[in-house]
């Protein structure tokens, strides 16, 4: 048998015996690592889930989309029941495409969806922009990403009921509402329009148009010049800022956790490795006196630490993945988000980084042993 095989076999036996005699030693290392990894994985995965949620919102809203809302009361100057009236944002047409709608102060209900749907009315000028959503059977549209396309369904709006065709909203109109919404031609809901509406303009910036910040500033300036109350402007900019901030915080936490995890593993494992190395000092020296290479004895300590740390990290991550719905559900993440993609991918992604830090810690923890192995055999053995 090869000498290295014999030595490795002996060292393995020695390690196993030590674990059996002092189970606290490997257990403490595994427990500390697993605890730290669970905390780290949960924090990093939570960051990733928040980022994902923001990205989805951003994607749904559209990076180049601006939503301008202005309340129009029955007594306000912009209250034209028939026809669109003067368009204060007409100048935006040169910078992209624009759609003017009215969001009524009523909600629609279908037998499929219990929740209330926002109701918008559109003027005849909007027909070209909405053409792809309209069916030949009815001019009302239920914009939905999930209901079966082209299905006809009855929508109750106040005391009235309209037949609407289901259509997928084009991306640039998805900013209008987070879920489904109803589009009805102006004049169909006269009673409801009497209450006033939110003049809603969806604008999608075109190529070569000025930056989004300038467009938003222009809309505000125009409102001031027209002596109107500044409109409510919704764009992707706050979301992008939030996403950037979240990303930065994620990176900072990643760095801090890397330091904590690596340092904790290095300190705990290092302290135990030094104690055990001292306990086995004579056996190590004896093996060296036989001619066993020093690197093999060092390798044993490094491998032991690395194996325990990686085992604990993988086990802890597995635990987080298995209990992801409970853990992240408790932390307030929507179950649909976890069910659709699951946190597995995120926990798995965090695992790679965690394993790197842990292995760095395990390597550092074995350095005192490497230093100890430099002591001459003759100073150890009598």
């Amino acid at each position: 048998m090869k000498p290295s095989t014999l030595i490795i076999s002996y060292l393995w036996k020695d390690t196993w015996k030590r674990w059996c005699e002092q189970p606290g030693s490997p257990t403490a290392r595994v427990f500390v690592t697993a605890l730290l990894v669970v905390v780290t994985t949960v924090i990093l995965t939570a960051f990733q889930l928040v980022e994902r949620s923001l990205r989805e919102r951003l994607e749904r809203f559209g990076l180049d989309t601006v939503l301008v809302r202005e309340a129009v009361a029955p007594n306000s100057p912009g209250f034209f029941r028939h026809g669109g009236g003067p368009d204060a944002l007409a100048m935006l047409e040169t910078s992209g495409r624009k759609l003017r709608l009215r969001q009524l102060f009523v909600r629609g209900q279908t037998e499929w969806r219990e929740n209330n749907l926002p109701v918008f009315t559109y003027p005849p000028e909007a027909l070209p922009a909405l053409a792809e959503m309209l069916s030949t059977q009815t001019a009302a549209v239920c914009a939905s990403a999930e209901l079966p396309r082209n299905a006809l369904l009855r929508v109750r709006i106040g005391h009235r009921s309209v037949l609407a065709g289901v259509a997928r909203p084009p991306n640039w109109l998805r900013a209008l509402a987070p879920d489904d919404f109803v589009l009805v031609p102006q004049g169909w809901l006269e009673e409801e329009e009497r209450l006033g509406w939110l003049a809603t303009t969806v604008f999608q910036r075109g190529l070569g148009a000025p930056p989004m910040e300038q467009i938003i500033a222009a809309v505000n300036v125009m409102a001031i010049l027209d002596q109107r109350t500044p409109p409510q402007i919704q764009s992707a900019l706050p979301l992008m800022r939030e996403l950037d901030e979240m990303h930065l915080r994620h990176q900072q936490w990643r760095g801090v956790l890397a330091g904590i995890l690596g340092a904790a593993v290095a300190l705990v494992y290092g302290a135990i490795a030094v104690l055990e190395f001292r306990q086995n000092l004579f056996v190590g020296a004896l093996l060296r006196s036989f001619g066993a290479p020093r690197w093999l004895l060092y390798f044993r300590h490094w491998l032991e630490n690395a194996a325990l740390a990686n085992l604990a990290a993988i086990g802890a991550t597995g635990l987080v993945v298995a209990l992801q719905e409970t853990i992240f559900g408790t932390l307030g993440f929507p179950r649909e988000m976890l069910a659709s993609a699951g946190a597995n991918a995120y926990a798995g992604g965090a695992l790679v980084g965690i394993l790197v830090w842990i292995n760095v810690g395990a390597f550092l923890s074995s350095l005192p042993v490497a230093a100890g192995l430099r002591q001459p055999v003759g100073e150890i053995l009598n």
């Binding site: 000498p3 002996y10 004896l286 006196s289 036989f290 001619g291 001459p376 055999v377 003759g378 009598n382």
Partner: protein, 218 residues
């Protein structure tokens, strides 16, 4: 094996343990005699390359320094005063490991093990762990472990210390059988029973720091 004006001390602030020692160890048995603390064990560890002299140099019969890994693995057999056997390996396994590290063929290791276990009266204990053996049996097993490697240089540090006459006689007989031809054996001991084995005796008492002993006597 040549020692050329070697000097050694364990710490720079301590006195020299060995100071300017010069000697050529010839084939055969050299008995290094002296009182405790005179540096006998230190000399053996220097000869084995387990310590390095601060001055002078030691040359093995192969012309290398004793710290040479190949010399330590293949040509050196060392018996320490105390711990000599791996506690979790049987006597037979200890011998096999030692022989294997000396790069001997498996058949030769097996034959050597069988021979030295027989000569040293350990055949019945081959499958036992060291902790289940008596002090004398452990010391004999340690010698078997050193001899199974067929080393050119055998260094024994107090091999019969604390052993009864029977054990001592078994050890002496095994060494007589082993030390043939060009083999060099250096034994450090103040045991008079080993004097019959020696081809040369080296008195190491001149390295003894007398102050401490005299103070103790007073």
């Amino acid at each position: 094996m040549n020692c050329e004006d070697i000097s050694f001390r364990y710490r720079p602030d301590r006195p020299w343990v060995i100071d300017g020692f010069r000697h050529t160890f010839k084939p055969g048995v050299t008995l290094v005699k002296g009182a405790s603390g005179c540096g006998k064990s230190t000399l053996l560890r220097l000869l084995a390359g387990f310590l390095e002299p601060q001055a002078g140099r030691i040359l093995t019969p192969f012309g290398t320094a004793p710290t040479d890994t190949r010399f330590q693995r293949c040509a050196l057999g060392f018996v320490f005063q105390q711990l000599n056997l791996l506690p979790l390996a049987t006597v037979e396994r200890n011998l096999m490991l030692a022989g294997s590290l000396a790069e001997l063929p498996t058949e030769q290791i097996a034959a050597n093990s069988a021979r030295w276990l027989r000569v040293l009266g350990l055949e019945a204990y081959a499958r036992r762990l060291p902790q289940s053996l008596s002090g004398g049996q452990q010391q004999r097993a340690a010698i078997a472990r050193a001899l199974v490697r067929e080393p050119t240089v055998v260094l024994l540090d107090e091999p019969t210390s604390g052993l009864d006459d029977l054990n001592a006689r078994v050890i002496i007989r095994s060494l007589e059988q082993f030390i043939t031809g060009d083999r060099i054996c250096v034994v450090s001991s103040h045991d008079t029973r080993l004097e019959s084995l020696a081809d040369e005796t080296l008195n190491f008492n001149h390295f003894l720091p007398l102050e401490g002993h005299l103070e103790a006597l007073v």
